[in-house]
C-alpha cells in the first residue's frame, strides 16, 4: 500500500512538473495555475472546516485582504518583496481579529460571525472608494521576477504557483501528522474532553485560524499576480461559498479532497461560463445536489454510489437483495 502510494505521488509530481510540455496551449496552462492557486486556498480553508470543525463563510474576506494589501502596496510604488511581506502580515493580523471575534462561539455561531466579518471586508472594499478604488478595483501592473526569472508568461507563472502549491501540500501533510494537527482534530470531536485533559482548546483553534489565514494570504497574493487585478467581487459571499464548495465537494478532512474540489470547481466554472452565463445557478444546483444525495462530498459520494450500484448489480445476478450502503460514519 505504502509503495503504491509513493508511486502514485511520484507519478502525480511528474505529471504536474511536465504539464506545460504536454498541455502546450497557454490557455490550459493558465487554467492549471488557477486550479493550483485555488487548491492552496481550499487546503487553507480545509484546516478549519475539515480538521477543526469550524466552518468559515468569511474566508474570501481574508483572501481579499491579502490581495488588496499587496496590490495597494505595489500601487504605492513599493517593491514586490515588501508588498507580499506586508500582505502576509496584514492577513495574519486580520486572521487574529477574525479568530478572537468568531471564537466567541462555535458551530452555527462561528459561521454566522465569519459571514458578517466577511461582509465587513466586502463593505470596505466596495464602499471605501478613497482607499480601495471601489467597484473599479485595483490594477497590478507587473508580476515579480524572483531570482531574475520573470513570471510574466504562463509557463513560468505556472511553475511558481506549483512551487507554492507543493509547499502548501507539504506543510498540510506535516500539520495533519503533527501533535498540533491531532489536538485540533481532538477539539473538533471532543472539545470538552480535550479541555479536561489540559489542552487549551481556544489557543489550538486560534493557532489553526492563523495557519489557515497564512495560506489563504499566500493564495490571495498568487491570485492578484495571476489576474493582475482585484475588485470587491473577490471578497463577496459568493467567493466564500465557492471555496467552501471546493472543500466539501472533494471531501473534507482529507488532503486530496480540497485539491480535487478546486479542480472540479475551476474546470466547471471555465466550462460552464463558456456556454452559459448562469454560473451562480449552476453553483447553487450543485450545492443542493451534493447535500441531498452525497453529503460526504463528491469524490467519496461517487465512490459510494458506484459501489452500491455494483453490489446491487451483483446481488441481482446472485438473486439476493441488498440494502443501500449507509453514509460514512462520522
Amino acid at each position: 500500500m505504502s509503495r503504491l502510494r509513493h508511486a502514485a505521488i511520484a507519478v502525480a509530481l511528474l505529471l504536474l512538473a511536465t504539464l506545460p510540455v504536454w498541455v502546450g496551449n497557454p490557455y490550459y496552462i493558465n487554467v492549471a495555475s488557477q486550479i493550483l492557486l485555488f487548491a492552496v486556498f481550499a487546503l487553507a480553508l480545509n484546516v478549519l472546516v475539515g480538521y477543526g470543525g469550524l466552518v468559515s463563510l468569511g474566508h474570501a474576506g481574508l483572501f481579499a485582504i491579502a490581495g488588496y494589501a499587496a496590490a495597494l502596496m505595489l500601487q504605492a510604488g513599493h517593491g514586490h518583496f515588501a508588498a507580499d511581506l506586508a500582505a502576509i502580515v496584514v492577513t495574519l493580523a486580520a486572521s487574529a481579529v477574525f479568530a478572537v471575534l468568531a471564537l466567541r462561539s462555535t458551530g452555527i455561531g462561528f459561521l454566522m460571525i465569519t459571514l458578517a466579518l466577511g461582509q465587513i471586508i466586502w463593505g470596505i472594499a466596495y464602499r471605501w472608494a478613497s482607499l480601495t478604488n471601489g467597484d473599479n478595483g485595483v490594477n497590478v501592473t507587473t508580476r515579480p521576477a524572483p531570482f531574475g526569472i520573470s513570471l510574466a508568461n504562463a509557463h513560468s507563472f505556472y511553475f511558481a504557483t506549483l512551487i507554492a502549491f507543493l509547499l502548501a501540500v507539504a506543510t498540510m501533510a506535516v500539520f495533519v501528522r503533527s501533535p498540533f494537527g491531532a489536538s485540533l482534530r481532538g477539539t473538533r470531536d471532543q472539545a470538552r474532553r480535550m479541555n479536561a485533559l489540559g489542552y487549551n482548546v481556544w489557543l489550538i483553534r486560534f493557532l489553526a485560524i492563523l495557519f489557515s489565514g497564512f495560506w489563504t494570504g499566500v493564495s490571495g497574493i498568487l491570485f492578484i499576480y495571476y489576474n493582475q487585478f482585484i475588485s470587491p467581487q473577490v471578497s463577496a459571499l459568493t467567493a466564500s461559498a465557492e471555496v467552501l464548495l471546493m472543500v466539501i465537494s472533494g471531501g473534507t478532512a482529507t488532503l486530496l479532497g480540497p485539491i480535487a474540489g478546486a479542480a472540479i470547481v475551476v474546470i466547471m466554472k471555465n466550462v460552464v461560463s463558456a456556454y452559459i452565463e448562469r454560473w451562480n445557478l449552476v453553483l447553487g444546483v450543485v450545492f443542493v445536489i451534493i447535500i441531498s444525495f452525497m453529503p460526504e462530498g463528491l469524490v467519496p459520494g461517487t465512490v459510494r454510489l458506484w459501489r452500491w450500484g455494483w453490489q446491487a448489480l451483483q446481488a441481482r445476478l446472485n438473486g439476493t437483495a441488498v440494502r443501500p450502503v449507509g453514509e460514512r460514519s462520522p
Partner: protein
Amino acid sequence: MSLWLTLAVNSIALGGLLFLLSAGFSLIFGLMRIPNLMHGSFFMLGAYFGVTFLDKGLNFWLAALLSGLAMAVIGGVIERFLLRRLEGQVLPQVLLTLGFAFIIADVCLMVWTGDPWQPSPPPQLRGAVQAFGMFFPLYRLVIVGAAVVVAVALWVMVDWTRLGAMIRAGVDDPPIARVVGIKVSQLFTLVFCLGAALAAFAGVMGAPYLSVYPGLDFEMLPLALIVVILGGTGSLLGALVGSFLIGFLYNFGQAMFPDLAYVILFLPMLLVLVLRPQGLFGRVVT
C-alpha cells in the same frame, strides 16, 4: 435641526422595515436554530412577487399578502422536503440554504432582469403628514405602523397563545413535547412558513422605499443577522431593539461617514460579541 429630525424619522422607518425582515429570521434562526441563509432571498423574491402583482393592478395590501402566501408555500416545500432531512446538521443546512440563495438570485436576475424596480406606494399612502411644523413622508410612518402591528401579533402569538406555548415546548425539549402529543415536526414547518412569509411581506413593504434590484438579497441577509446577534437569538424584544438601533446607525452613519457607513453597522454587533455573546436580550443556554 430639521436635518437631524428627518434622519431620525428615516431611521425609525428603516428600523421598522428591518424588524419585519428579522422577526422571521429570529423565529427560524433564533428559535429553531436553522441557519437560514435564504432569508435575504425570501425578502428579495417576495419584493419581486409584490412588484409583479402591483404591475397587474392589484391592491397594495393584497399584493403584500399574496406575496407572503406564495413565499410561505415555497419556504414550506423547501423545509419539508429538503431541510427536514438534515435536522441538527449545521453544515449541510448552511450549504443547502446557500445553494437555494444562489439559485433564487440567478432566477430573479433571469425573470426580472438587472434593472431596479421601484413601485410607487398606494395612492392613499403617498404624500406627507404635517406635525410639529414639519412634513413627514406618510409611507415611512406606515412601515413603522406595520412593524408595530407585527411585533404585537408575534408577541401575543409566542407568549400568550396555545400555539406559542407548543412552539416554545417544541424548541426547548422536542422529545418530551412529542410525548405529550405535540406534532413538533409540523409545527416547525409552520414556523418556517411564517418566517418566510414575514420576509416576503417585508420585501413588498420595503419595495417602494428601497426599490428592488439584484444583490438586495445578500445586502439584507447580513442586516438580519446583525439584528438577531445584537438583540440575542430567539428574543423578539431583542430583534425589535436591534432593528431600531441598526436603523439609526445606518442613517446617521450614512450622513456623517458615507465611506464607512456599511462598516459602522457591524460595530455594535462586534461589541456585543466581545462583551455579551448571548446578545442584549438573549438568555444564556445552559
